[in-house]
Symmetry: D2
Subunit: 321 residues, 4 copies
C-alpha cells in the first residue's frame, strides 16, 4: 500500500515542485496539501502545469499522514510544529532552515539531510532538515577538500535563479528589472554560510573561512558556483579525491568536460568541474535550486529514510535546452 | 524482454531528446545510436546532461533492432531507407517530413502519427510519419472545428523556440541576435501548412484556407499559436465540441483558465484555450516543440504501435518555471 | 532660453523614459518632476541609471512650466487636469488614453499625436493626446492601406515587452512566470482597437474590421506586429504605396530586408516589412513601446508643437544587440 | 570642419558600435568603413538598425583620414599596420590587445587608453591602445585600492554578455545553449589578467595577485564583476578613497545604492558599489562591454586626444529596462 504524504505550504514554489515529483512517485500518495492562504483552491488552478497531474484541493485541515513535508517560509516550521504536534512515527522533512543548525526540537532530533555525508543517519531517522540550495551546491563543491584538510580560505561566487526568491512579488523579481540583469545581494552575509561552515568544519582539521558573494541571475532555475582555493595539489590528485568521495553518490558527478548550468536543470544532479592553475584550484558546481537544492533532495531524503531506492521518482528528463 | 531501439541521427536535437525519453522507458533498450558525423563519440560528450543517463557510443554501423526512429534532416529519410533496407516487421517512425504527405514508400505505407485522429491506424502499423511541430500545435487547435464544418478562412500566428531551428549554427540562432528579439519567417509559406490542410480538409466539409505567420521567439523550447476564425457559435458550444473531440486524448487538455506556454514545456501535453468575441473565436494552443511536437509524440506513437500504455515514459515533470 | 518642462507621474516607466530623453534635449530644462507617491525622493534613487543624468527631487508641488507631460495611469489625466487647471498657453501632452477618442476637454481640443498623419495639426496645437503603443505600431502598418481603400478585415497579432505592463508588480510580470513564456491577453478586446479604427476608418472608404490578438513577450522593450490582409495588389505596388505615404516621415522606414524587433529597440523608429503571397499581404511592424510607442513619440510631438526640428533629442543609439 | 574617421574592421561588433556612436558625434565624419570580407556591402545591410543612421558602403580601399580605429581580431592590428603604413599625424586607436602590453611599434608609442589613470598622456598622443572589456571593469574596481597599497590577493568573478564573444557563430554563442545558462571559461587564465596587473602593480607598493574566474552570461550586453579583498579599513574610508580617486572621472560613479548591471547598459558609465564585512571588502563594478569596455571608451579616448570635451557623443540614453 502506498504511503500517505502531506505537504504543508503546498502553494509555494518548493511545495508545488514536490507535488510535481510525488505525483509520479510509485510508493506514495499525496493526501493532504495544506495551505492556509489558498484553502479550497485546486492546486492546478494555482499551477496550471499540474492540470491532469495533480488536481487536489488545498486544505487547511490537517490529516494524518505517514510522511510530512514542511515547505514554509524560513522560521515558520518551529511555530507550525508547536501548534500542530506530529506523532513520532511520522517522517518529517523540513525544507526551511529552522532545524539545520539547531537539530533538537521537542522530542525530535533533526538530521541534516545531505545524503552525500549523512546517508546512514538519514536512513534511520524520522526528522530531516533539508539543506539550503546554495548550501547544497557549495558544500558538494568543497566537502572532499575539507575532509582532506585542504581548505582554509575559500572565495566563492554563486548565481541563482529567480525561483530562489520565491513567488512573492518583489522589485528584484520583476521581469522588467531582472531580465538581462545581474546583481549581488547579501554579500558575505548569506544565511547559508553558517550551515556550510558547520559541515565543512566538522570534516576539516583546519579552520575554514568562506567568503561568499551571491548573485541574482536572469534565469528562473539553477545555481552555478565557482570556488577558488589556494592548493598545491595536482589536478589529478584533486579529481581522484572527489571521485573517491562521491563514488557512492547517486546524484553527484565529477565531469571531465566543461560544466554549464543547463546540464542539471530539471534534474536532481549536482555536477562538479575542477580546474587548476599555478597553486590555485577552482571548483565549479551546478544544481537545480528547486530540485537538488530543495524538493528533489527532499524526495531523495524521503527515499532513504523510508528504505526505498534512493533514486525513486528522481529519474527526471533534463530540460537540456 | 525489452524491445531494442535504434535511433538514426541520434546526435541532433530530436535524436537526443528521444534518448532522454527512452533512457527511462520501461519497455525498451537503446542498442544502436547511429550517427555518421559523430561515430565513435559518446552521446554524453555531445550532450553532457545525458552523463549517467545514457553513455552509449554513437556508431555508423547499423544493428538489427525492433524499433527504428529516423531523426534525419528533412528529405533524407527516403535516401536512408533506400540505402538501408529495413525488415518489414521493424517499427519505423520517421520524425522528418518525408512520408507525411506521400505515405507510400517501397513496401511501406506510412500512417500520419497524430494519435488524436489516427489512433486505430497507428495501433496496427509498422510505419509512422511523425507530424511536424507547428503542424501538431495548429491541427490540435483546429481539428474539432474542421470536423464540425466550422472552418473556412483561418488566420494563425505561431511562435517557436530556437530548438525548432536545430543545432546548426545560423545567424538567426546566434544568442546575440535572438535574445530579446522577435521576427517572422516563411510568412504564409511554412512547409507545415500542407500537412495541416491535408488533415483539416479530410475532416472538413468546407474548403479550409490557412494563413499562417510563423515567428521566431527568444526562448529555446515551446510553441504558442493563436488562430482567429469567423464563427457564430457560443463559447460554450465550441468548448463542448473540443471536449468531446478530445475526451479520449491522453495529452490534450482544453483549459478553462488562461494558457501560457510554460504550462506545457518539458511535457508531452498540448493545452488549448478558446476565447470568443462578437462573431469570432480565437483558439490558442501550446506544446513543447521537441516533445509533443517531435520526440514525445514519437514515443507516444511507439507506445500505441507496440500495444503499450500510451503514456509510458511520458509522465514528465513539467519545468513549470 | 530653454523652455521649462514638467512631468506629472515622473516616477513611472514612461515618465522616467521621458526624463532619459529630455535630459539631453538641447531646448528644454526639466523643472518639475511631479509625483504624489514618491515626493521628496531623488528620481535617480528610483531609477539609478539616471544618476549623473538627472538627479532632480520628485515633488508634489506643481510649478509653472512651458510644457507639461502627463504620464498618469489611464483615466487619471482628466481628474488631474480638473484639479490642476493649466493655463491655455502651456503645451500639454497626455501619454494616457484620456483624450485620444474624446478630444474635447474643458477649453482644450486634443490632437491625436501621430505625426505621420497629423503633423500640421500638431504643429499648431497646445493639446496633444499621445497614441498608445500597440496603436502606433498597428496604425503605421495599416494606414497606407486604409487610405488606398484596401482594408476590410484585418487579422493582427502583436507581442509586447513587460515594460508595457508598467512597474506595478503583477503575477504576469513576475520574472519566474514571464521568462521563456508566451501568453495572450485581452484577445480581440484590447483597448487600443478603438483608437486604431477611429483613424483607419477616417482614412478609409471601406469599413475596416480589426481582429487583434495581443501577446505578452519574454523581453522588456519592444513591440512586433504582423497583420494579414486579403489584397490582390503586387508587392511592388504595396511597397510604393507605403514609401509614398511615409516619404516625409522622419521615423518610419519601409525595409527591403528582413525585419527583426531589435532593429528598433532604444530608438524612436518604426520599421515596416511587407510580404505577399497568393492574394494576401502581411505587414510586419516594430517599435520600441517606450519610445515611438510612448515617450519618444511624446518628444517628437513636443518638437513639432514647439516649432523645433522633429528629431531633436531623438537621435538615439540603437541597442542593436 | 569635421575630422575624417576610418574604421578598419567596421563589420564586427565593436566596429559597428563605433559607427552607432560616431554617426551622431558632432566633430567627426566617417569616410572610410574598411572591411575585407564585406567590401561592397552597405553597413546597414549587415546591421539593419543602422538604416537611416549610417548607410555607407564598406570598402577594401584605404583612404586618408584624420582618425583611424582598428577593430580587428586580437593580434591582427600589428600585421595590418605593417601592411598599411599610417602617417604619424593620424590618431590611431587600436581596440585589440596588440599594443596594450607592448607599447612600442614601429615609430609609434601606444598609450594605454584608460582615461581614469592616463588622461594627460592620452591628451598628447597619436597612438592609443584601448583597454579590454573585463580589464576596464576590473581595473576601475581595484585601482584606488592598489594606489593606497591595500591590494595583495584579489579574488574576482566577472560575467560577460554574448557580444563579448564576437559575431562568429560558436557553440557557446548558440541561443539554444546559452539561453538561461551560466558557465565558466578561461578560469584563472583570461588574457586580460596581464594588462590588469601591469597597471595595478605600477600603482601598488605591494605585489598584487589576481585570481579571476570569468563566466559567460545569458544576456547580450554588459559586464558585472565582484572582487573580494582582505582589508581592515572601514567602509567609509574605502568609499572616500574611491570618491577621491574618481573625482575628475566623467564616466565612473561610486554608488551609495545597490548596483545592478542594467544601470549601465547602453551607456559609457562604470558604476562601482563597495561592501564590507568583518575584515573583507567586496567591490562590484559594472560596464557595458561594447561601450566603456570597447567602442565607447575608444570615443572617449578620441575626444581627449583631439582636445574635445571628453563626453562628446557619449551622452547616451540608458536602456534602463
Amino acid at each position: 500500500m502506498k504511503k500517505t504524504v502531506g505537504i504543508i505550504g503546498a502553494n509555494g514554489y518548493t511545495g508545488s515542485e514536490l507535488i510535481r515529483l510525488l505525483a509520479y512517485h510509485p510508493e506514495v500518495e499525496m493526501t493532504c496539501l495544506f495551505s492556509r492562504s489558498n484553502s479550497g483552491v485546486k492546486i492546478s488552478e494555482l499551477y496550471p502545469d499540474l492540470a491532469g497531474i495533480c488536481d487536489l484541493v488545498l486544505t487547511n485541515e490537517l490529516q494524518k499522514v505517514d510522511i510530512l513535508f514542511l515547505c514554509l517560509p524560513h522560521k515558520e516550521s518551529q511555530n507550525w510544529l508547536t501548534q500542530n504536534p506530529i506523532d513520532a512515527e511520522v517522517l518529517v522533512i523540513d525544507l526551511g532552515n529552522d532545524f539545520r543548525l539547531e537539530a533538537d526540537f521537542n522530542n525530535r532530533k533533526f538530521i541534516y539531510g545531505l545524503p552525500e555525508i549523512n546517508k546512514t543517519e538519514i536512513q534511520s531517522t524520522k526528522s530531516i532538515a533539508n539543506p539550503g540550495c546554495f548550501a547544497t551546491a557549495i558544500q558538494l563543491a568543497l566537502l572532499p577538500l575539507a575532509e582532506a584538510g585542504l581548505l582554509t580560505d575559500v572565495y566563492t561566487t554563486g548565481i541563482t535563479g529567480s525561483t530562489g526568491a520565491g513567488q512573492k512579488l518583489q522589485s528584484t523579481t520583476h521581469f522588467t528589472w531582472r531580465n538581462d540583469n545581474i546583481s549581488a545581494y547579501k554579500t558575505l552575509t548569506h544565511q547559508h554560510v553558517e550551515e556550510i561552515l558547520m559541515n565543512l568544519n566538522s570534516k576539516s582539521s583546519n579552520d575554514v573561512k568562506l567568503n561568499f558573494v551571491p548573485w541574482r541571475g536572469d534565469f528562473a532555475r539553477g545555481i552555478f558556483t565557482s570556488s577558488t582555493i589556494k592548493c598545491d595539489k595536482s589536478l589529478e590528485e584533486i579529481k581522484t579525491l572527489f571521485q573517491d568521495f562521491y563514488k557512492e553518490a547517486k546524484f553527484v558527478q565529477v565531469t571531465d568536460g566543461h560544466l554549464d548550468m543547463k546540464q542539471v536543470v530539471n534534474t536532481n544532479k549536482c555536477v562538479i568541474e575542477i580546474e587548476q592553475n599555478e597553486g590555485f584550484i577552482v571548483v565549479h558546481s551546478a544544481i537545480d535550486n528547486l530540485l537538488k537544492g530543495a524538493s528533489g533532495q527532499a524526495v531523495q531524503n524521503m527515499n532513504l529514510a523510508m528504505g526505498w531506492d534512493e533514486t525513486l521518482g528522481l529519474n527526471l528528463k533534463p530540460i537540456a535546452f
